[in-house]
Structures are given as structure tokens and as C-alpha cells.
Amino acid sequence: MAPVARETDIVRLLSAYDRARQNLIPILQDVQEQLGFLSQDAVGAIAEHLQISENDLFGVATFFTQFRFTPPGRHCIKVCQGTACHVRGSGLIMEELSQKLGIHAGETTSDREFSLERVACFGSCALAPVVVIDDKVHGLLTPKSADELVDEMGSRRDETVSEA
């Protein structure tokens, strides 16, 4: 998971970029990597740095699927929706996980443990169907094995909690 950066970090990050419009998307990517999402404050700071309106910035940021405006869960589950995954049953995996976590794609559980996302294609088609959890690729899944993977993540959390 992305480390939580402070506001001063954002200022420092922005100072590395000159005020050219073409830096907008790299900045958004950089900030999201730091914060995990694009906060209202960050959006304001970026718009000011590039001297464009927040409206204009949102127009670009919402166009691309990479950007999010709410904090992600501790674990990010991405279900591949590529063609190879589709014909090998990725829809069922999404359904299973959605039901298990009680959220739809694009949402985060209320305890902020899990985010569920759909991704167009990871390019790991030979391993279809594929789910990526916290940047680790898991291939050749079934609804059941995907379910178990998520259980594993959950139990790992329980351990860390009990240790604490």
C-alpha cells in the first residue's frame, strides 16, 4: 500500500515539476502514488501550481481510469476483465468477490480493508482468469480459489492485529 504523505510532501513533489501543462498527468500519477488517491487539497495545490482551474484538472483526471478521488483500501483487489479472462470466467470471479466483500467494483469496504476494481487487461492472458492483489498477479483462478485468496489476506490482518 502507498505510504501516506503529508501536505509538505506534495509541495516538495510539485516543486520538482515546472509549470507546463504537459506535466499534469505525470504529476497526478506521482501524487496518487504518494497519497493513494487525489485528495481535494492535492487537487487544489496541483491546479494552482500549473495555473489551471480545478475544473479543468478534474476534466482530465476523470477521463483516465487510473485516477481515484477516495482513499483506497489497505488491500487493492483488481479483477482482470480482458477477453481471455472473460471467456474463462472472470465475470463469476468478480461476482463472487463483490458478494463476499459486499461492495461493487470501484468501491472500498467500510473498514477500509479492501478495494475492488476492474481492470481492462493486465496482459497476463495466458494465465487467465487473473486477479491482481496488491500488485501480485494470481493466475488460473476459479471463484473458489479467488475467494480463498481474499480470506488469506484477511487472516493475515487478524494476525497483525493480535500481535499488536
Binding site: A20, R21, Q22, N23, L24, I25, P26, L28, Q29, G59, V60, F63, F64, T65, Q66, F67, Q81, G82, T83, A84, C85, H86, V87, R88, G89, L92, E95, E96, V119, A120, C121, F122, G123, S124, C125, A126, L127, A128, V130, D135, K136, V137, H138, G139, T142, P143, K144, D147
Partner: protein
């Protein structure tokens, strides 16, 4: 990395000297253990395998006798993780899937004792079950012609020495003593066409950009925004052989810009490909350090630098003008042509965009010559094409074949046919812009012209095999759901057209279709093809039109009989178990996600229709064809 002085190379002679030094530091016959580090093998545990091999070699005090290295993708991801012993080319697959320690121990033992290869790790022929020892004898590889992928799986993509040892950057050195116009002529003569989908002649594209009236800049872009779902050629090429792409771009920039304007290179790459970004970043740094990129390359007057731009997840940005908008920091929406990017592109400057695979072909053409390249392939389609062969196929992975090979050879021989003795029903090529080629047309030669004749297109090279359990209406709906959400919304035919096509297809798959639906689908499709602004909207109807043309009866079964013959559309089906065929094994009971299948021991199973969610998992796992769809 070899211990050589790392000062920038000041001439082509320096490059050859360095190459000779690298080669002499590697005695002939030196044995290498090459572990695949592609995304597929990593997912199957190749990083752990590499670490285990490292440990074992240290423990056996054999680290200095063998070179252990990690390569990029070998293509046969199905058998991951892969390890190849060089120079014999012994091919080990599924290494460590069951028992990492013992597999690694056996492998190192076989190497130390110079004995027979480890039998249990050899590839097993799917038909005659014989073990196959060598890479090239495996049916998956035997029919391939590897030009673009010739280094893939052989070199360490993070070590420029490996690329140089195989002749790398020799073509760039050669080109620097040629006239730019002659370089363009060579590429034109070779007949290289764009591998990104449309197949525009590369040489002509370069000539247009060179001829543009502007002496301030030429932008040379590599399109690595591989957006087609079901395709991963570009990712694999960059992950396994990044310098081929960089060398190709440098050659292209020389041909387009040298003597006319300065050149700047950009690789526009998907954010979903972190490993490819990392590999490419390393490659650019290494090439710069050796003076193979940057100011005065190899002591010449030609300068060229490459930057990476990460895409932010928009399919339409594969379209040239949309990509340009997004690099400029705007919404990735296409603009009307003319002006074409070759005349007025990025920041208003002449811009040339080619796809990853096209660039990777360039150094090979310069090296082997236009005549050699043009002798491969068919008709107007020269050279090879890389495909990602996936879906319902036994050997899935990345393949490279000469243009003009029949789909049947690809599916049956390289792909090893469809699993579970099922029948191939169709092959989808070209991603969301392509179409479904039915099994009856499997003898179609795969090249630009023939694939287009059957209503599909090459696209960037996705090839998804479907069997009788794949519903063609559902497939069309799947692609429209994709293009509907990826349509940028700028022009009405595409924005509204994709919405309506998707709505109608959804109704058909949910049993609410009517007899006139197919006609409406066709009408909307034709309008979209004629009136959409960019390639996305113009080609989005292809999956609909080709499935209507080739699988009309499947559409009719949905709209008229309220049935889904493939057993996919849930609202239209019911699963039952054939009591005579059921062998009372527990497979389906275990697999059912909602525990809807019951049955006493040694009693045929049965499905509780109330609980059943019609997911079809039971049918997938049943080895006896006992699950029936009605």
C-alpha cells in the same frame, strides 16, 4: 555485468571492440541457467525459483561454474515457470510448481554430474506423452519463426551486454554511415507495415514525416499503450528485449530527422505494465551511459534521446491524435485529420508514431537486408507477426509466425488444439476492433488482407480462441461493453452507437430480444462505421457484425427460442445432470460456489435449481460431459 570500462563509445569501431571484449569474456560453451522472469512466470513463482537456484549453487560451491540469469518472456506462459539450460537448450517447465527444493536440487545435480536432464521437468507432448528435451523440438516453438522475438528468453533484458553479445546496436552503427533517404528506402523495400493494427507502410510514414515543412523538431513516438484486452505482445517485447525497440527508434529517428531537424523520442506506455516500465527505464539508462542514446551517438553528428510517458488508462489513447492530446496534458480525445500527425502532431510539430513491434522489426531489417525480410510472409504482408494466443486453447502464450500461416496451423499445431476434446468454434482477432472468424474459415491465411476479407482485422495481435461453450452473442456484448465504456464521447455516432448496441445486445442475452433486433444492430453498426471520428468508433461494430454474419442461428436461438445454445446467458439456461453419465465423483460438488449440488456417496449428483446461480462451473470441471444445458 561484465567488468568493462563504461565510457561512452565514440565510434562504431569502439562498439565492435566492446562487443569483442564481451564475447571473449564469455567462453564458448559456457553453460547458463536461464530462468524466465516474464510476468507470467513471475506469477507462477519464478522469482522464488531464481533465489532457490542461487542458494543451491552456492551450497554446492558451483556458482562460478554456471551463469545464472533471468531472461524476459519465453512466450509459453502456460508451462510457467520456465528454465532453459544453454547452450544445449534443454527446456524445463513447471519448475517448482509441486516441490521447489527437490526440483532445484535435481536440476543442479544433473548439471554438476553432466548427466541426463531431469525427466520429470521436461515438457510432455500432449498427444503421445513423450518427454521432449530441447526447446526447438517442442511443437509450440517448432512452427514459429522468431525475428522480433529472437532475443526473447535468451538475454537478460536488464543487461545491455547480453544484447550487445547478440549483435545489438550493430544496425544503428551501420545506419549512421548511410543517407537517411536510403534508410527509408530500405524499410519501404522490405515491405514493413505497422504492427499496431492498421498496417500502414512504415517507410512511407517515415518519408511523410521527414518531408514535413518544419525544421524545429521531429517527435518520434513508440506506441506501447497496448489497450486491446487479450493481447500482451508489446508488454512481452519490452520486458524481454527493450534495446531492440530503442535501437529501432534511434534508426527511425535518424531516417526521419537527421539533417532536417532535431529529434526527441517518447515511449508512451500503459501504467498497468510496471515491469515493462522498469525494464525500459533501465535499458535507456544503460544505452545512454554507453553513448548509444543521447548526444552525438557513436561519435556521429546525430543526437537522440528517449523519454518515458506513462499512460493513465484510456483505450482511445492508442489512437495517434488522442495519444498526442494526452501527452500534452489534455483529455485523451482524438482530433479530425488532416492535419495528420506527420505534418502537425505533438506540440504542433511533425510527429511519427509506430507501435512497439514495428520498431523492434527495424534493426532486424537493417541487419538482414530488405530482400531477406521481404522473402518472409505473403503477398503484401511481409515478415512475421507476433500474436498472443489465448482463450480456450491448450498451449496459450506468445507466438511469432510468418504472415500467411493459416489459422488452423496456429490453433491446431502451435496451440495444440482446444482443451477437453471440445471443438473450436471461432477465433477472435483484433480485439474490440476485430471480429470473430468462425471455425469454418480456419484455413484463412493470417495476413492483413485475408483477415480483413473475413470481416476481422489483424489489430495488434490478440488471438482469442473460443469453443462450443462460448456464446457469440455474449462475446459481442462483452466487446461492446468495453468500447462503450472506452468511447471518449466526443462524436455522437460512437458515443450513442456503442450505448445502443450494448443495450440491444444485453436485452438479447437476457431473453428480451425481438425479431427485429438483428436488423437494428446492423443499421446502427453501418452508421457508426461511416460517421465516427476515429478508429475506435469506426471499428467498434466489427464484433457485432461478424458474429451476426457467421453465427446468425445463435442470435435467432436467443431472440426466437429464448435459448442460449452455448449455455452462457444465465436468464436463458438451466443446468441438469445426466444421471447415466454421472460417475458420482465429487468434482462438481466441490466446485459449486453456492453448494447447490448434492448427492450421497456413490449416488449420481443432482442440482438444486433454487440455489443454482447458473455459473457453469460444474460444467467446466466435469470430465464426463454429464452436465447438460437446456
Amino acid at each position: 555485468m561484465a567488468v568493462l570500462t563504461r565510457t561512452p563509445l565514440a565510434s562504431p569501431g569502439d562498439l565492435e571492440q566492446m562487443r569483442a571484449a564481451i564475447l571473449s569474456s564469455r567462453p564458448a560453451g559456457r553453460r547458463e541457467i536461464v530462468v524466465c522472469g516474464g510476468t507470467g512466470c513471475r506469477a507462477a513463482g519464478s522469482l522464488e525459483l531464481f533465489a532457490a537456484l542461487e542458494r543451491e549453487l552456492t551450497q554446492q560451491r558451483a556458482s562460478d561454474r554456471f551463469a545464472l540469469k533471468m531472461s524476459g518472456c519465453h512466450g509459453f506462459c502456460q508451462q510457467a515457470p520456465l528454465t532453459v539450460i544453454e547452450p544445449e537448450r534443454v527446456f524445463y517447465c513447471r519448475v517448482g510448481r509441486k516441490n521447489l527444493e527437490s526440483d532445484v536440487g535435481d536440476m543442479v545435480q544433473a548439471l554438476l554430474s553432466d548427466g541426463e536432464p531431469v525427466r520429470k521437468l521436461l515438457y510432455r507432448h500432449p498427444v503421445d506423452k513423450e518427454r521432449i528435451v530441447h526447446y526447438e523440438e517442442i511443437p509450440f516453438y517448432a512452427q514459429q519463426t522468431r525475428i522480433v522475438l529472437r532475443n526473447a528468453g535468451r538475454i537478460d533484458p536488464r543487461d545491455i551486454d547480453d544484447y550487445l553479445a547478440r549483435g545489438g546496436y550493430g544496425s544503428l552503427a551501420k545506419v549512421l554511415s548511410m543517407q537517411p533517404a536510403d534508410v527509408i528506402a530500405e524499410i519501404e523495400k522490405a515491405g514493413l507495415r505497422g504492427r499496431g493494427g492498421a498496417g500502414f507502410p512504415t517507410g512511407r510514414k517515415w518519408a511523410l514525416c521527414r518531408a514535413a515543412a518544419d525544421d524545429s523538431m521531429r517527435y518520434v513516438i513508440c506506441n506501447a499503450d497496448e489497450g486491446d484486452p487479450g493481447a500482451f505482445m508489446d508488454r512481452s517485447i519490452i520486458e524481454s528485449d527493450p534495446h531492440s525497440v530503442l535501437e529501432g527508434m534511434a534508426i527511425g529517428s535518424y531516417a526521419i530527422a537527421h539533417g532536417v531537424a532535431p529529434a526527441q523520442g517518447i515511449v508512451y506506455i500503459r501504467a498497468e505494465y510496471p515491469l515493462a516500465v522498469e525494464t525500459l527505464t533501465t535499458a535507456i539508462e544503460q544505452a545512454k551511459r554507453l553513448g548509444l542514446l543521447g548526444e552525438n551517438i557513436l561519435g556521429s553528428a546525430f543526437s537522440f534521446d528517449v523519454k518515458i510517458k506513462r499512460g493513465a488508462g484510456a483505450f482511445v489513447c492508442g489512437e495517434e491524435t488522442a495519444m498526442i492530446a494526452s501527452i500534452e496534458g489534455r483529455r485523451g480525445m482524438p482530433t479530425a485529420r488532416p492535419p495528420v500527425p506527420a505534418v502537425k502532431g505533438l506540440f504542433g510539430k511533425p510527429t511519427n508514431i509506430n507501435n512497439v513491434e514495428t520498431w523492434a522489426n527495424v534493426p532486424r531489417i537493417i541487419e538482414g537486408g530488405a530482400d531477406w525480410f521481404a522473402s518472409i510472409g505473403s503477398g503484401e504482408s511481409k515478415g512475421t507477426k507476433v500474436f498472443s494466443l489465448v482463450g480456450k486453447i491448450n498451449n496459450s502464450g506468445l507466438i511469432e509466425v510468418p504472415m500467411g500461416m493459416s489459422l488452423r496451423t496456429i490453433v491446431d499445431e502451435i496451440g495444440g488444439g482446444v482443451p477437453e476434446r471440445r471443438q473450436c468454434k471461432a477465433v477472435q482477432t483484433g480485439g474490440p476492433s476485430g471480429g470473430c472468424i468462425p471455425a469454418a474459415l480456419l484455413d484463412t491465411p493470417v495476413d492483413y488482407e485475408h483477415v480483413q476479407q473475413v470481416g476481422s482485422m489483424m489489430g495488434s495481435g490478440g488471438m482469442v480462441v473460443m469453443d462450443e461453450y462460448s456464446c457469440m452473442v455474449d462475446v459481442a456484448k462483452y466487446f461492446l461493453a468495453f468500447t462503450e465504456s472506452e468511447s471518449c464521447g466526443k462524436c455522437v455516432p460512437c458515443r450513442m452507437g456503442t450505448q445502443h448496441l450494448l443495450r440491444i445486445l444485453t436485452e438479447i442475452t437476457e431473453g428480451r430480444g425481438t425479431a427485429t433486433d438483428v436488423e437494428t444492430l446492423q443499421k446502427i453498426s453501418e452508421t457508426m462505421k461511416d460517421a465516427s471520428l476515429c478508429g475506435l468508433g469506426q471499428t467498434a461494430p466489427n464484433p457485432v457484425l461478424t458474429t451476426i454474419e457467421n453465427f446468425a442461428d445463435e442470435y435467432r436461438a436467443h431472440t426466437e427460442d429464448g435459448k442460449c445454445p452455448a449455455g452462457v446467458c444465465r436468464e436463458l439456461i438451466q443446468f441438469t445432470i445426466d444421471q447415466d453419465k454421472c460417475t458420482c465423483c465429487p468434482q462438481c460438488v466441490r466446485a459449486c460456489p453456492v453448494h447447490a449440488i448434492s448427492g450421497e456417496k456413490r449416488q449420481p449428483r443432482s442440482i438444486d435449481q433454487e440455489q443454482c446461480i447458473r455459473c457453469g462451473t460444474c460444467r467446466e470441471v466435469c470430465k464426463f460431459d454429464a452436465i447438460m444445458v437446456s
